[in-house]
Symmetry: C3
Subunit: 211 residues, 3 copies
């Protein structure tokens, strides 16, 4: 986990260009700039073809659109598009969690059984704790749609103070999986001493147990 | 797994002061003392605050009350309250499974994503076999109550001849989880050549497949 | 994973003597012999008693019968009956996946919590990737029948280009588990660049997502 090995891959920290819901703007109270930097979310597309430009990345934009619709907290996203190379995936995840201080990193792609699919292995390699409940629930909801959902090896875990979640590659499956697990994400980030995430309750109701 | 490293932590082997159901007393037939020592169950509360006395341990007593209500076999319980320190949790689990010859060790607490939550890691470190079905089922039943159930990393495994099961910290969640998995526990202990556990069938129906 | 360590155990490559459904014969179009060798499936019974001949192997034949009923592709089966010894299980799995070039290896037995049950550990040791969705789904369907289903530690994984799946020992449970996961198996083998498996759709509908 040497930080000396960390390499900045891309630096597209620009704010999402997608329109934010009105509720969010109301909440900002003019203190937009300082709040803006506090919630950083990494979005990592793992795909040989997308990284070579042979294929349009649809997974990353689908995740960003979901977050833009669901999160009422302002957030900054850090996007990466990388090939299915385990050392590079590990390096990217560590960079986003450690150097870039993301509280949440969501990957898309590379979770299947094929030779080049190594996203879960890379995730496990960088995490100190695994969160098996995420993969179990996401496979369960995907299984209601397609019997091949059991082929997804997607997992989740904690790397430092960040939650990493693997999602499948298809935009439709991305939304189904995020709908299933998102209600638990803000409280998970609270437990990691991260920023306080708020959601559009009509879309996703974040659950925080009373102490 | 050196036994030389085992240290006795607390020695509160006194019998539960909770009243036992009538069915149990009837079954004892006056041979109480010799039978009493045959079924030993460890109950480990993992909590920094409870171990420092800043917080009343509610998880350990909830497990003991459950066992006292459900088990019709007489049993002896060995209680421990320890901080969220992985080496100490591992040492306590090994002591209870090996030195103290418990057939079942139930932990409460330390299963979440926070930095100090390391009970599943300690459990995995001392077990020769993991039992993923316990965690899957317990998360499934908890998920019917709260969406944050996926944050529980609770697992189970076999350490020597003992079954170790992680439970969450909240008494309500403890009961839900035990209700879900308890029907399988007596047969599991049979397969480990442990003592024959009987349950109050109106409460929990232990299942033993016909050979 | 040294191939030098691989030892041929038994060489019963004879074709299943079970009658094949008519649909299969129709599909063969006289090109039976060349197609016959292309799909090779390993069936491994892991049982101390069965391997000593003290007990009739019922698991292996139950798997073969299932495959003969469900697969419309012609296939060759390679059967093994071995004791619950982890090194021998690992060696057998590697031999079937690597030397014998099976695209699918199905084990039966050795998935419980008892001291001698080590099939999941052997499977994990030879696989480069684990497929947690198989075990989760098989335990879920078995749990609808018996509460002790959570005691099965059955898993699945990828060894080279082969899918290995652990099943329980009981013929009834074998069928329930295969019914649950079989719709995803042909596509999994596609993703591993293996042969194209077809099924009797009235029995099991193989699912292949449109690209």
């Amino acid at each position: 986990m040497s930080l000396a090995l960390q390499v900045r891959l891309q630096s597209n920290r620009e704010r999402s260009s997608l329109a934010l819901p009105v509720t969010q703007i109301v909440k900002l109270n003019g203190d937009k700039s300082s709040t803006m930097t506090s919630i950083r979310i990494g979005i990592v597309t793992v795909s040989d073809r997308a990284s070579r430009g042979e294929y349009e990345d649809r997974g990353g934009p689908a995740i960003l659109e979901y977050l833009s619709q669901v999160l009422t907290s302002p957030f900054e996203h850090l996007g990466r598009v990388i090939p299915d190379e385990q050392p590079l995936i590990e390096q990217t995840l560590r960079e986003l969690c450690q150097t870039e201080q993301c509280c949440l990193v969501i990957t898309t792609g590379g979770t299947g059984p094929a030779l080049r699919d190594v996203t879960p292995e890379a995730t496990e390699a960088v995490c100190q704790k695994m969160m098996p409940g995420f993969g179990e629930l996401m496979r369960k909801v995907s299984l209601e749609k397609v019997p091949t959902a059991i082929l997804s090896r997607q997992t989740a875990g904690i790397c430092g103070s960040a939650l990493i979640i693997n999602l499948p590659g298809q935009p439709k499956a991305i939304q189904e999986c995020l709908d299933a697990v998102f209600p638990a994400i803000p409280y998970c980030i609270d437990l990691l001493n991260g920023p306080f995430l708020t959601t559009l309750e009509s879309r996703v109701k974040a659950f925080r147990p009373r102490k």
